[in-house]
Symmetry: C2
Subunit: 336 residues, 2 copies
């Protein structure tokens, strides 16, 4: 918060425009006392983000001057999301674990339900969430579709496909011809989904089916995509989903799964996924769920009647410099 | 919060009593789903606090088994205080900086005022705060009094001495005879202070004066103690306090100051004081203030008419292993 507050107060922008400002001058920019500006900037000096000329009493950007604007905006999107979606909510983590619900959303916003419900009602959560997710999706979807192999002419079901943007991306990015893509999600998504199909000019190739993945997965598809959905659930519900998908497919039908993964060796100290995601899923988004190791996702697919034909992890070096998640893609074929 | 939640759920205690429990067994202890227990313990495995036998599916304490109970309780007191006093409050840091008030206390508790006022009214803040502060004081007061030199027979004023426990400690720890110690604080502290003097059997040597340090510091004292008070204020108010103390003393009168300090070299990466204190004082306790470098405290004393005769920092190696603060003691004599 110390770093984010320096941005929110406009201190970094002011130093970019006018290197060499004093705490008094920065205080005027921020509408704050120079004493508070001095206190906050100590950490940025320690980290080498900002330099302080003690003799002159002035500040200039140090390492922050060399960060590309796009990277900086994405890192700020991370910080904004963490502030809005996790910081206060984690105070209630223990109660969230015990109840399997996001107690923070109830206590802070009076909201009964998970984060995805809250996003629809609360712009103070939706806006920072969407800003971050747009940067994540912009990277992950091209990578995902570069890894999957969808035969020409396939009938594709995008499971829990929300309002259809995943279907649109499938047509755009899957590098396959003659696809027909159906978004499957709760019936209340239909109108917005169909509007998205029309506005993207793909209504001829796309359709919507309303339903509940825990009741029945629609039949008649060759390929099912399950993107960013399984980690929202505990193992028993992941199995209900995968078994439902398995039941809906003919033998030979394929599923392509996009999931975040923990490293196989948990002791990789440079990997922060286990620092972040358990409390994030349980305390802040779903009251349950979380990533698994790639080997766990693979064995769960096998236990649900699939044979895994491909399991790859996004190369961390390919990720934007600010990114935390390491995504994996698993392809599997129904064999039983 | 992931670590603290594992303690709050009783997972660590359960593993100490029964090494080799499964996630299912730990879930029963915690009243939580095994899935959530597995997710939370990933971080403790990464950090080497807990060991996981993947083949057997069981957990045992790893490094946590070797932490002395007293150290563990003190570290938990730190975490409890940070959870209660800072975690949610820092969400409002930017507004706290702009207004110079602790906006988090207002938003979360409807409380207008600083943390010290809130502690009196809110047990959910007071209890974790007191638990931590007791461990801090138990270490710091003996060190402080081992460093100060108070001549026998001195009349001592404990500035902002709260309810008299500092005066009691002065008699106990200053290693000087014939002292008379007066606690100076707001008039509403008087009854509890006098009761503390009686219950400690020191009412013969101690007295109380009610007043406001920003209006007038009482005269007639040889030595003034200012312990853990100056960092609560911005520079202009620190100067008002020090100038008021200076005015109250005869030439030759002494002041002994206890303050937390930042390192002279801010880039000491192992020193986390600048990571913690600026946002703590501004966002969570006072809406202003914060530690300074030892050299800054020294120059401020000199600017307020004192000659500094001693300025020492507590050796970090002397601190309890969990401690964050590095305290300093400055002795100074009125020369102008």
């Amino acid at each position: 918060m110390t770093l984010l507050t320096c941005f929110e107060l406009g201190l970094v922008d002011a130093l970019r425009d006018s290197p060499g400002l004093t705490a008094a001058e920065l205080g005027k920019v921020a509408g704050a006392k120079p004493d508070a500006v001095e206190q906050l900037l100590l950490l940025l000096v320690k980290e080498g983000f900002v330099a302080h000329d003690e003799a002159a009493g002035t500040y200039t950007l140090d390492a922050l001057a060399g960060v590309a604007e796009k990277d900086l905006q994405q890192a700020l999107a991370d910080l904004d999301m963490i502030k809005a979606v996790t910081l206060r909510q984690l105070f209630y983590l223990t109660e969230s674990v015990r109840t399997g619900t996001t107690v923070g959303l109830k206590e802070l916003y009076g909201f009964d339900g998970d984060l995805y419900g809250a996003l629809a009602e609360l712009p103070e959560l939706r806006e920072p969430w969407a800003k971050l997710m747009n940067t994540v999706t912009a990277h992950v979807d091209p990578w995902f579709f570069s890894q999957v192999d969808i035969p020409a002419g396939s009938r594709v079901l995008d499971l829990a496909g929300n309002t259809g943007l995943g279907a649109v991306n499938t047509l755009r990015l899957a590098n396959s011809s003659g696809l027909r893509v159906t978004t499957f999600d709760l019936p209340e998504k239909e109108a917005e989904c169909l509007e998205n199909f029309r506005s993207h000019g793909v209504e001829e190739y796309c359709s919507f089916i309303g339903g509940d993945v825990f009741e029945e997965v629609p039949k008649g598809f060759d390929v099912v995509l399950i993107k960013h959905f399984l980690p929202m659930f505990d193992k028993s519900d992941v199995f209900r989903i995968l078994e439902g998908v398995n039941k809906s497919l003919e033998v030979g039908g394929q599923v392509h799964v996009l999931v975040p993964v923990f490293p196989e060796n948990l002791k990789e100290t440079e990997n922060y996924t286990v620092d972040f995601y358990p409390s994030f899923f349980i305390g802040c988004t779903m009251g349950q769920g979380g990533p698994q190791k790639l080997s766990t996702w693979q064995s769960w697919l096998e236990e649900c009647g699939f044979t895994v034909t491909k399991a790859v992890t996004d190369d961390p070096d390919n990720l934007p410099p600010h990114a935390l998640t390491v995504e994996a893609m698993l392809s599997a074929t129904k064999t039983a």
